[in-house]
């Protein structure tokens, strides 16, 4: 019997017993649905983190000199945490020293951020914004594009001009229906003139990148960000990977000297790259993927058990048919094949249904939660293969029972 004949036969069987087939499929369908949904969420987050987040938060070919990692990799022990707290602050003097030692071709920016509630003559209060006091190359390193206006110059930064560049959402919130350029935004009572508005960037993990205000490091903005207590970090961007490594080496030298570390002491500062931050994500992702596969597997195992039982019932119900087929010349392998294909077809049907529902679920999640989600092609392929596999495995025992039936006894059964 050819595969086509066998599949056709299986489809007839499914059509004849629609309701029974549907219940048979339920386990596989639910398993596959969750597989598709979970994987698409993980996949969506992954795309997000790797493409958006890494570039937006960290920049390309960039490292950030910090006291301790901003993105923590897995669980941090109490001892590690205490060690981090004992570390010296990164000061603006450190930043100057690092800058002096950087190889040519690198860009450099101080960054110190804090959340604060701005106000304007149009609106007294509203959502907080991430306020950053930075040096001029910050915009370049972060690859921030302007919607309108301009960014501040190095001179403005040096003299500490009270100017500010706003994220698109902050601009809209505090200057509703007016052009914010030339207007004042107040932070802790201090006025800053708006000179530019950034292009809309969207959000990552529910954190809006458009709710921010960026001003010169040497301006009064430092009072808002409390830079005296130490900087958040120093951003360094290399022209390429080799340049970045050179920059990291010279920064390490400078910082170790400034912190009076002996050769045997470990670094008491952190140079965070997008790789090191993504490392954390990779760990999270592994857990999510394992969870996203283990849970559906339970569904598939249940599905397999159901299918096996239904197929055993089908074999018992159709004993006479098997007898007839054998009398007409069906070999063991023909009968085996027929029931395996039937079971696999049934299960693949369930998988396809599950894929459709999984798509739907993933769209639903995307629309009602901040979680990003994007269906991964591989999960669709895996689902179909799993569906067929589950069907075949679940069908082996019933099919082999069917194939071993004695034709004489089978023909006599009712």
């Amino acid at each position: 019997m050819s595969l086509l004949d066998a599949v056709r036969l299986a489809l007839t069987q499914i059509r004849v017993q629609k309701l029974k087939s549907f219940f048979t499929l339920l386990g596989v369908t639910i398993g596959v649905m969750f597989l598709i949904a979970v994987v698409s969420i993980v996949n969506g987050m992954s795309k997000y983190v790797e493409e958006d987040f890494a570039a937006k938060f960290l920049g390309v070919n960039t490292f950030t000199l910090r006291r301790f990692p901003n993105f923590q990799n897995g669980n941090v022990t109490e001892a590690t945490w205490r060690e981090w707290q004992r570390r010296p602050q990164i000061t603006s003097e450190d930043a100057e020293a690092v800058r002096a030692a950087l190889p040519t071709g690198t860009h450099w920016a101080i960054q110190d951020s804090r959340y604060a509630t701005p106000s304007s003559s149009y609106r007294n209060s509203g959502p907080q914004a991430r306020v950053s006091a930075v040096s001029a190359d910050y915009f370049l390193i972060k690859n921030l594009d302007l919607e309108r206006g301009r960014v501040f110059t190095e001179q403005e930064e040096q003299i500490g001009a009270p100017v500010i560049v706003l994220g698109s959402e902050t601009a809209e919130t505090y200057f509703p229906n007016v052009d914010p350029l030339g207007k004042d935004l107040r932070l802790e009572g201090l006025p800053f003139r708006v000179i530019g508005v950034l292009k809309k960037q969207g959000s990552t993990f529910g954190i809006s990148l458009d709710r921010q205000a960026i001003g010169p490091f040497h301006s009064d903005l430092r009072r808002v960000t409390h830079a005296r207590m130490g900087l958040d970090g120093v951003l360094v961007q290399g022209s390429d990977v080799g340049n970045l490594q050179d920059a990291q080496e010279s920064t390490r030298e400078v910082m170790r000297r400034r912190h009076h570390l002996r050769p045997s002491d470990p670094d008491n500062f952190m140079m965070e790259t997008s790789d090191s931050a993504l490392g954390a994500w990779q760990t999270i992702k592994q857990f999510l993927v394992i969870g996203g596969i283990v849970l559906p597997l339970i569904g598939l195992v249940v599905g397999a058990i159901v299918i096996m039982n239904i197929m055993l019932v089908a074999v018992a119900d159709r004993t006479r048919e098997i007898g007839i087929r054998k009398a007409l010349g069906a070999r063991r392998r023909d009968i085996m094949w027929q029931f395996l294909v039937e079971s696999a077809t049934l299960s693949v049907f369930g998988a396809i249904l599950g894929i459709a529902l999984g798509f739907g679920l993933s769209l639903l999640i995307k629309s009602v939660t901040p979680l990003p989600s994007s269906v991964a092609l591989w999960s669709v392929i895996v689902s179909v293969v799993l569906g067929a596999g589950v069907g075949i495995i679940a069908g082996i025992y019933p099919a082999s029972r069917a194939s071993r039936l004695d034709p004489i006894l089978a023909l006599r059964s009712e």
């Binding site: 019997m1 004949d5 007839t12 004849v16 006479r320 048919e321 007898g323 007839i324 087929r325 054998k326 009398a327 007409l328 010349g329 069906a330 070999r331 063991r332 392998r333 023909d334 034709p407 004489i408 023909l411």
Partner: protein, 267 residues
């Protein structure tokens, strides 16, 4: 040709040589069935039942044979053996020059598919399949392509005057029509023997006569027919009547002598 098919083909030629040398059997391809001392024992919970106690039967091509006997005489067992649904406990069975009594399951399935056309008392059609598909079934297992299958199935159905009922399901057909579908199915693979097991057992007498006429036509057109029945009225349609009693052949006569002894017994 697959390795399996090659094997079968090779063993076929090998065994053909042997059968011509079997003493007491004419070395001719005329013999469709030759059984030599076949027995069949069943183990019924420790007690051995001897259903067949050594049956010698030879059937020529084109013969029309009825196998008769009361229930328990072993005629069903003999039919299963002739139909290659079962193998004997001892003895040899040569079908169309091939020793089939030692064959394994899958080889037997192949022989059933190629050499035997079954007609059952209860028709044994697939209830959810159309008449056409039912007739196609043996060809499916013979590996015939879909187009050729349909054509040959249509031909066979036309031959039993069911050309206009091809898309009907068994439950949409009368008993006689169902049995004719079964006959078409039995013939579609051009088998060496048509093996009928109480073919009229579930039919009224008018329909029985109709089915017997179909058998008669097939027999006159050269089809070897073996029919198992317990009804003398049905058996007398055959040209040769073999009577089984207690697992042995008790008589083997032409229709004429059978009828004569039947009449004398009635008188």
């Amino acid at each position: 040709m697959s390795p399996v098919e090659q094997d079968v083909a090779m063993s076929t030629t090998a065994e053909r040589k042997v059968v011509t040398g079997v003493p007491g059997v004419a070395p001719s391809s005329d013999w469709v069935i030759v059984t030599r001392g076949i027995t069949r024992d069943y183990d019924m919970g420790g007690e051995v039942v001897h259903a067949l106690r050594g049956v010698e039967l030879a059937v020529r091509r084109n013969e029309y044979v009825a196998i008769m006997g009361p229930s328990g005489s072993g005629k069903s067992t003999l039919m299963n053996l002739i139909g290659c649904l079962d193998t004997p406990s001892a003895g040899e069975y040569w079908l169309n020059g091939v020793l089939v009594s030692r064959m394994a399951d899958d080889e037997l399935a192949r022989v059933r598919n190629r050499e035997i056309g079954f007609v059952f008392q209860t028709f044994n059609l697939l209830p959810r399949a159309s008449a056409l598909h039912n007739v196609e079934l043996p060809l499916v297992y013979a590996g015939v392509s879909s187009a050729e299958r349909k054509e040959r199935a249509r031909e066979a159905l036309t031959r039993v005057q069911l050309g206009d009922r091809m898309d009907h399901r068994p439950n949409e057909l009368s008993g006689g029509q169902r049995q004719r579908v079964a006959i078409a199915r039995a013939l579609v693979n051009r088998p060496a023997i048509l093996l009928a097991d109480e073919p009229t057992g579930n039919l009224d007498s008018t329909t029985s006569e109709e089915i017997m006429r179909v058998f008669e036509e097939l027999a006159s057109s050269g089809q070897t027919v073996i029919m198992v029945t317990h009804e003398p009225d049905i058996a007398q349609h055959a040209r040769r009547v073999v009577v089984l009693r207690d697992g042995r052949i008790s008589s083997d006569e032409t229709r004429e002598t059978f009828l004569a002894s039947l009449n004398s017994a009635r008188a």
